[in-house]
């Protein structure tokens, strides 16, 4: 845990540099806002709520940003804070970042996740439907409702189940893409390939899944991995780049074998 109580005053004065953009077709730019009296106990998004309240009262249009659960699990929040996706704390989504991480007088730059596959819809809100299309291409196990065997019929070694769970924790936020200089989606795709490929239930479709997911990932305009590991550093769920090795192995194996 890197969050510690800041030593300064319990209310902060901040300068915010925020990306404003009317819609996907209109070019955007930074605007500067000043806030005072921000409590260190606020979450980052509650600080933005305060800004929007102030803008509304002043008769200016509030800043659009995606958010929902505010518990770090839905994956909706998606800000680049001072150049880092989800801000400075490791393993932390934007909604779980708290203002005690900042100091009185700080300037904070806030931008949307940037990638050509994630067009900006408005201000800080982006379109991540490319991720859904990748999942629709093969990010599943085909199992008709009502037909499966008893859940204990296939024992799964605890180690495999735990590794699958590590990968399955991906929240699909896209921070890995935003952090990558190539805007690669390899960490996201590999997390799904690992999750399903490590389980016995996922074996029948393992090869076709790797081919389909990678093909769709390329079609969406995501870049390729050049082993910088920025994705792992930015991932709020601590998804490991070891998953990318699994993806590469499955993809190579599938490419060289009979596509059945």
């Amino acid at each position: 845990m890197s969050a510690t109580r800041s030593s300064g005053p319990s209310a902060l004065r901040l300068t915010l540099n925020i990306w404003r953009q009317k819609n996907a077709k209109t070019p955007g730019g930074f605007e500067v806002y000043r806030l005072e009296g921000i409590s260190v106990d606020m979450s980052f998004l509650e600080m933005l709520d305060e800004l929007n309240e102030k803008l509304t009262v002043e008769g200016r249009e509030p800043v659009a940003f995606d958010h929902d659960c505010r518990e770090g699990i839905c994956g909706a929040c998606s800000l680049v804070i001072n150049g880092q996706p989800h801000g400075p704390d490791r393993n932390t989504t934007t909604c779980q970042l708290h203002m005690r991480r900042f100091r009185d007088g700080d300037t904070i730059t806030i931008e949307p996740f940037r990638a050509s596959a994630f067009p900006v819809l408005k201000d800080l809100s982006i379109d991540r439907s490319a991720f859904d299309r990748i999942m629709a291409a093969g990010g599943f196990i085909t199992a008709r409702t009502g037909s499966p065997p008893d859940a204990n019929a296939i024992p799964i070694p605890k180690v495999a189940a735990d590794l699958a769970m590590d990968a399955a924790q991906c929240i699909g936020c896209g921070a890995c893409v935003a952090a990558c200089k190539n805007a690669a989606a390899m960490l996201f795709v590999s997390a799904k390939i690992s999750h399903l490929g490590l389980l016995p239930q996922g074996q029948p479709e393992r090869r076709s899944r790797a081919l389909k997911l990678v093909t769709q990932m390329d079609a969406e305009g995501f870049g390729a991995c050049t082993n910088e590991r920025e994705c792992e550093a930015a991932c709020p769920k601590g998804i490991s780049v070891a998953n990318i090795a699994r993806l590469n192995r499955d993809y190579l194996w599938a490419s060289l074998s009979d596509p059945s």
């Binding site: 505010r70 439907s129 629709a136 409702t145 799964i156």
Partner: protein, 645 residues
Amino acid sequence: MTAVTLGDSKLDSKCPSGPLAARWDKHRFELKLVNPANKRKFHVLVVGTGLAGASAASTLADLGYKVSAFCIQDSSRRAHSIAAQGGINAAKNYQNDGDSVWRLFYDTIKGGDFRARESNVYRLAQVSNDIIDQCAALGVPFAREYGGLLANRSFGGAQVSRTFYSRGQTGQQLLLGAYSALMRQVGEKRVQMYTRHEMLDLVLVEGVARGIVCRNLTSGAIESFAGDAVLLCSGGYANVFYLSTNAKNCNVTAAWRAHRRGAYFANPCYTQIHPTCIPVSGEHQAKLTLMSESLRNDGRVWVPKQQGDTRAPSAIPEGERDYYLERKYPSFGNLAPRDIASRSAKEQCDAGRGVGPGGMSVYLDFADAIQRDGLAAIRAKYGNLFEMYERITAEDPYRQPMRIYPAVHYTMGGLWVDYNLESTIPGLFVLGEANFSDHGANRLGASALMQGLADGYFVIPYTLGGHLAGRKLPKLTTDHEAFRQAEAEVRARTKNWLSIKGQRSVQSFHRELGLTMWEHCGMGRNRASLLAGLSKLAAQRSEFHANLRVMGDGEDLNQQLEHAGRVADFYELGELMIRDALHREESCGGHFREEHQTPDGEARRDDAKFCYVAAWEHAGDQDGWKLHREPLEFENVQLATRSYK
């Protein structure tokens, strides 16, 4: 709106008769089937893609129906089911500790304080085992033991270990399973997915639900969709309290618009206050965070015996602590059901024994568990929850007890449905938290996920056939006059929020509404306070309609505009909740009327007068609501005083 008037009950629950265990089988046999070649001719509209919606949409599409699914989020994977932490119940009896379908049924009926239908709850317990099998097949990584078999843990209100889990992220994993099944159908073009679409009205043609009107949240366009059935899987209404554990965008609008079109709203006053949440830290607070009930497996709840004791917890000796749940409920201890644990926490804080800022919290202490099992074991079980706690409070729960306080979490009330999950509007089905059906007056932990998936995977695929094969559904398109009219109304409402041009933000109104609901219709309710709440609400609502300010326009993404429509519906719902709470002159489950309690402060039910479902019909803005009663009949369990002592 005027006072409550009593209506004649026209509610037919359509519950099958005969032995409880055979009812669902018998009913499934009697339901009409749709021939496989005909399925593709039927178009089903599914609103919401949480556990109920995603499981229903994927299963129906796999059966061959043409499905369109709608969600307000940017991806169907982000529905609020994802935030459920602790687990999902099933009667597998894998632990050999005495569980059975009957025991799960009985615990759920008793947990709900005998205010749910026997037939529905028994069916829920029956299909619970199929859910675990289905989820495992889809690749849900449930926790396992070293032998490779599934692990279980305990939850409140049960003395067996029947809860399946994936660390502290069970809802996420179950939802991603259902989402992956849904995405498969999207890829195969059997489901058309509409994200960032909000349903703003239901369209009826000749009295049957035949379509919906949505606002495309990205473009602002008003879009209509016609179909042969509408499935509402739009979740609960806890955000009427503003501060709740629900995601910020959870709302009642889809359900409320259906209510205004004729769907009865059942038991709106049954709300669940979850005992273990992180306390409010200040006025800026926009959201409350739950700490999973699973923590009560190992955490012990206590307060200092002495009032106003401000010593650090470590400085308070064992003998000066009151482990009040263990003291009051020795057989269930810290695993007392949610309503009881919450009320007990409030009781301690009201009596001046609360801890932390303002004395508005109690301790949840892991010191004994850490000493017994070791730090590593506790970290493996609850690590992510402890981290979340520290991130929010800057306190380390490995070193000092967590501070917790109850917060609004779930709503047992919802649109009335029969055994087929069909509302009082033919063709409108309601699944998951959006309906009222299975939890009575209090839901047990790990039962919400079970119900959402039961409805979607295993109930609606059968019961929908009864509607589609049993009714004449003439072909129609969105050119029909009924769509034009509904679209015009939606446009007018949306435009109205922009044209008020007052002084106050939507958020400021929502916060004020939430506080009023919490103070007047929260954990403890009484007649005088409920009446005062009604008049406060009326005043706030008039100000909202006169003094709201929404910036921007309706032509693109406008989150304040979305919020305005939702808050407007919350005002109306809030009024109905208070009226329902006023009329129910008894205490049961989460509904605690202070006038009706035993000498030791437990809820006192009145089975002679209130053993029924209260289903409210919207009778127009002038006439208020009409009450319809569906009597609850208990043939298999004995109505008893609920005791966890």
